[in-house]
């Protein structure tokens, strides 16, 4: 599946839910299902510090593809991380760099991208692109 097909699938699964609380319940369930990040990566060099929540992210490069592992200390952000990894992990650097990320806005979670939320999420997006760029140039 392409990045956009995965995004469309995510949008569809959220579109089926009307109630805000149920949408969030899905996100929370996703967050809880995210595999915990290996302790060796829970170090300052992998940390993206938000004002309210923290995200750790590490990346590896195998056979031309970038694989991400990440975690957050809040479950809602973990749910967003789960979705982001679904979209980006296992993609080539070019796919990541060219991607148009539209699913977050379409499922009504745009507020998490606002700087006001200070949850480290926007910084994480930037970090994903930085990793892709670094691997592409390496």
């Amino acid at each position: 599946m392409s990045i956009n097909e995965i995004q469309d699938n995510i949008i569809q699964s959220f579109d089926e839910i009307e109630d805000w609380m149920d949408k969030y319940q899905l996100l929370i369930d996703m967050g809880n299902s995210l595999s915990p990040l290996d302790e060796q990566y829970k170090k300052p060099q992998y940390l993206i510090e938000g004002c309210q929540s923290r995200v750790w992210i590490s990346a590896s490069y195998k056979e031309g593809k970038v694989f991400f592992e990440a975690e957050s200390d809040t479950v809602i952000v973990k749910g967003l991380v789960y979705l982001l990894l679904k979209v980006f992990s296992g993609r080539t650097p070019d796919e990541i760099l060219k991607a148009d990320l539209y699913f977050i806005e379409r499922i009504g979670l745009r507020e998490h991208l606002s700087p006001n939320r200070a949850n480290g999420f926007t910084a994480m997006l930037k970090q994903i692109r930085n990793y892709a760029l670094a691997f592409k140039l390496s």
Binding site: W20, M21, Y24, Q52, S53, T74, V75, I76, V77
Partner: protein
């Protein structure tokens, strides 16, 4: 709840509270961050702009005279509200933060030198920490901190030990913006004064919740923000005893604050104008006066009594919620309830409360050192104003029960 106080009619004065968010009636419990504005305050702003908007103090025309009367009238209203001895002791600023920065600069210039100490407490807002750190860096001084116990109360014995000839000023909050605890300012100020140490009181969290009398307190400086007391944003108050205002040099230079300007030498205006460089927010001050009159009409004692009942009710109701963990162990809280839901990050709790129509604050509340000391990390803060109701508290409790289930 019994009271001679009609919360339903009060709420009608605050149109913003009538709205729905995410399809739910708004429950606004972030009053410690900023308060909502009654109709009369917004009306006063409109009236000022539409009928007597002109620069104050200088012009000879009628509109300027009316604007000046409104602005200077506001100073008298503020004076009365905190019972200052004279209106010249009221300096208008942009907020509590600027008031404290003004004192840190101007008091520092007049009274402090290398090796001197400034004393603050462990429960200060960043606004009552960083200006003093800047002063200490500038003058090579030392910042000393009064510790608290695990309950979140000041250790008064330790405080007494920290006082000494090197201490030039004590800067302390009246009510903690995180814990809602009120410090025993009476004995604290008395002890400082015995050693000739002046005291600045950060009243940002106090003015909207309890009567304030700066003369009875014998505070040397008292600061608060208009927006936390139902007035407009961008206006603040610095009360200072005449003695200090006269001894302190100006904070900023410009129009309004001068007497005579010559390239060789400039002389400064009298107090309080010496500290009010540039065109003041004369519309904002007039609207602040309106807010204070609105509160005075309801009666600060009534507000205090109602909020005490509401806070006690909230502590009782929230205490029954599974996983609810209150921060600090304080006998008497002023309209602020800091808490965590066991095992759930404060950010997650705040996000879900928002979806249920309830606005709270989450995080470290601009008091990182305090939360570090208590060892709790980020927390949720529900903070009340006199327009909040027991029904809203009940909805908060119900929402927390629901959220606790969602995450467990």
């Amino acid at each position: 709840m019994e009271s001679n106080f009609d919360v339903a009619s009060i709420r009608k004065q605050f149109p913003i509270l009538e709205q729905k968010v995410y399809g739910q009636p708004l429950v606004y419990l972030d009053n410690a961050a900023t308060t909502q504005k009654p109709r009369c305050v917004v009306k006063r702003i409109e009236e000022a702009y539409f009928s007597h908007n002109a620069n104050v103090h200088r012009a000879v025309h009628l509109l300027s005279q009316q604007a000046t009367e409104a602005h200077e009238g506001a100073r008298v209203v503020v004076q009365g509200f905190i019972n200052a001895a004279e209106s010249d002791e009221i300096v208008f600023t942009r907020g509590t933060t600027e008031s404290i920065n003004l004192v840190a600069f101007s008091f520092g210039e007049a009274f402090c030198r290398e090796g001197d100490e400034i004393l603050i407490s462990s429960m200060e807002h960043h606004s009552n920490i960083v200006p003093w750190q800047l002063l200490c860096e500038r003058k090579k001084m030392v910042l000393k901190v009064i510790p608290i116990n695990d309950d979140g109360c000041l250790l008064l014995d330790e405080y007494a030990k920290l006082l000494g000839p090197k201490v030039k000023l004590l800067a302390i909050t009246q009510i903690s913006n995180v814990l809602g605890v009120e410090n025993a300012l009476g004995p604290i100020i008395e002890l400082a004064h015995k050693q000739g140490i002046p005291v600045l009181v950060d009243g940002a969290q106090a003015v909207a919740h309890r009567p304030v009398d700066v003369q009875a307190l014998d505070a040397d400086f008292y600061t608060f923000s208009s927006h936390k007391i139902f007035g407009p944003t961008g206006v603040g108050v610095l009360y200072a005893k005449r003695f200090f205002l006269e001894k302190m040099p100006p904070y900023q230079g410009g129009g309004e604050m001068i007497d005579q300007v010559h390239f060789e030498k400039t002389t400064y205006n009298q107090i309080p104008f010496k500290f009010e460089a540039g065109t003041p927010d004369f519309i904002g001050t007039a609207a602040l006066a309106e807010a204070l009159r609105f509160i005075q009409k309801i009666g600060m004692d009534n507000i205090h009594a109602y909020e005490r009942q509401l806070t006690d009710y909230a502590l009782k109701e929230l205490g029954k919620v599974e996983g609810f963990q209150l921060l600090g162990n304080i006998p008497d809280r002023h309209a602020i309830i800091p808490f965590q839901l066991k095992g759930i990050h404060a950010y997650d709790v705040g996000m879900m409360l928002d979806k249920l129509g309830i606005a709270v604050r989450t995080g470290h509340h601009c008091a990182q050192p305090l939360l570090e000391r208590l060892g709790t990390g980020p927390c949720v803060r529900a903070s009340f104003a006199f327009y909040n109701t027991t029904e809203e508290v009940y909805r908060l409790a119900a929402a927390l029960r629901r959220i606790y289930k969602m995450f467990n």
